[in-house]
Amino acid sequence: MDALLLATLIVGGTALLSLPLGRYMTWAMDPTGPAPRRAGLERLFARVAGPLGHEQQGWKQYAIAMLAFNALMFVVSFAFVALQQHLPLNPDAKGAVEASLVFNTVASFTSNTNLQHYSGEVSMSYLSQLLSLMWLQFVSAATGIAALAALARGLAGRPEMGNFLVDLQRATLLVLLPLALIVATLMALGGVPMTLSGAASATTLEGVQQVIARGPVAAFLAIKQLGTNGGGFFGPNCTHPFENPTFWTNGLSMICILLVPMCSVWMFGRIVGRPRHARLVFAVMLVLLFGKIAVAVWFETAPTQAFAALPEVEQVAGNFEGKEMRFGTPYGSGPLWSVLTTCTSNGSVGAMHDSLNPMAGLMPMVGMWLNATFGGVGVGMINMFVYIVVAVFLAGMMVGRTPEYLNRRVEAREMKLAVLTVLAHALFILVGAAVFAATPWGRDTLANWGPHGFSEILYEFSSASANNGSGFEGLGDNTVPWNVATGLVMLLNRYVPILLPLAIAGSLARKRRTAESAGTLGVQDATFGAMLLGTILLVGALTFLPAAVLGPIAEHLLFAQQS
């Protein structure tokens, strides 16, 4: 079965690649010890950050510096998108973008989400794409990597967490930029356009005019995939032949989607000084990832249900709706990509998620609900840290010992913060979906009826809250209520799950080190792996199962009944 072979090659290959790259990323982000060739560079980073560049920040100062820089990212990008019609690099004369759409778009790219209520080739000038959106794709991803480095330093017991503006430059210039240059070159060699010329106009063989949008796609594509951004240069993202021209660019994209999130786990393990713990966490993530891939591939082998009553159409394995021929079988790349892109909070699509079979379409939602199967660059591991704290606490309760993590006691304050982080994600999704399902705000924007319509709403809030950015794109989501609601959810659930875990790390760092004994819970053992896996599935199932039953599961059961 070539679908699972493809999955093994992509995931396994990327895992191997992440080992040396994870070591490099640690060196780039956390230069401790003698690093003579780096000294000049480090002085430069500190100089750019001005008088604050040499300051060592506690978690609060670090968080404030992060919020200040992210606020500036938002303002600068907002201005350039809002004024695009007056600015250069606009060969196709794109007009003004409506205010709520500007808000949503900039919130989306600032929060590393890249939910798109617009179509790139229809609405955005090249300047907006490059200066606002692509810049945010670099620095929002770097924000996540910096936050993880800070968290890990706190957990390693260092009194200070580093300097945000220096970390941001390290992540942008030493991690993301070199990778993006390599990938952009490979993508261009693979056939992706890279030009500043405006759309081409063709006269087809049958004499019809066809306008063909193009642009600086390769550069945009590379950082969109590497930084778990996912925003398409074109509306249909990586299903577009210019954004994903061959089987090989498709594979390269999937590797890039997974790569930095995988490296983040290794970086975390190295900074906290617990490589075996990182290996266990990596293994738990792999188990979840392969579970979701297997389910999605399995359900996508069913033929398109809508054709079942038509003997004039071949009933072959796989549902072709929303998929491209050049990526191979319809149950191969499509469901695999849909799982990879949602596990990692990337959100670019290689097949239309709205047109996946119902249970295959549930897997992307599960990915976004758990949001820690590698997850977003940096932040995925932060989410996993929250699950680890919960698992450590539950395990401690079970054996009747004070729970500890990395030689620090986990107590009520840390637990409150961890539970709040988990709850915030659930509340944003479930309350948002409930409100929009009950009102014309949501109901009037649906493309499909019944349970699938509810799935569209549920997916949109899941995507916003998980900072993912993919969508069940049939939803007519470019309305003021959708733009404002998802814009706010994206921003809130970007910073809440960074700030609260930083606070946990700050709180743990202040505690006295406890001595390790025979009774200490080993966070590198298989037993703890099973405990962690159980905690993630239990929390996910308890929270989201009812919503899943109303949407994809109901649709699947109806569909099974008919056939």
Binding site: D2, L6, A49, P51, I64, A65, A68, M73, L130, L131, W135, L168, T172, L173, A184, T185, A188, G191, P193, M194, T195, A199, A200, A202, T203, T204, L205, E206, V208, Q210, R214, P216, A219, G235, P236, T239, H240, P241, T246, F247, T304, Q305, A306, F307, P311, E312, E314, E321, G322, K323, E324, M325, R326, G328, G350, M352, S355, P358, H452, G474
Partner: protein, 185 residues
Amino acid sequence: MQSLTASLRVALVTIAVCVVGYTAVSLGVAQAFVAHTANGSLITAADGTIVGSRPIAQKFTDHRYFWPRPSAVDYDGAGAGGSNASPTSTDLTERARSLIALHGATPEKPLPAELAAASGSGLDPHISERAALYQAERVGKARGLSIARIEALVRAHTSAPGGSLTTERVVNVLELNLALDADFR
């Protein structure tokens, strides 16, 4: 205030490097080494007019040509997109019925499934070899050519997109139609 100016400086440096520098380098490399694909793989006719882009599907309705997969956006190269319909949607059944009529499919000669299903981009340039051979009879009749000659042409233009990793051979419809016009004018 100090933190604002520090943030501004970092913003300016990252914009200079990641927007200006990075774009310029990727643009330079792409235009120097692969200018044709970097500019959109445009195909020009003998008289210099642009007839399309190799990886972008265009609309074909003439019986003398092979037809691509259906497009939810009517092959709009400046506004791509899929149907986003649920695979259980009756809209898809209706669309499939009209495609069955168009291709003259029967239960004895059923339509390859991808010819009834729209791609995600609406611009999928490929159909499978089977879907091309399926149309050979119609194209042959319209051009007054034997089916065998048309089938030979199809087979000469197919390729496996992922080598031995993919089982189904595909063919680029625009290229195939250009070859038809060139060989059997």
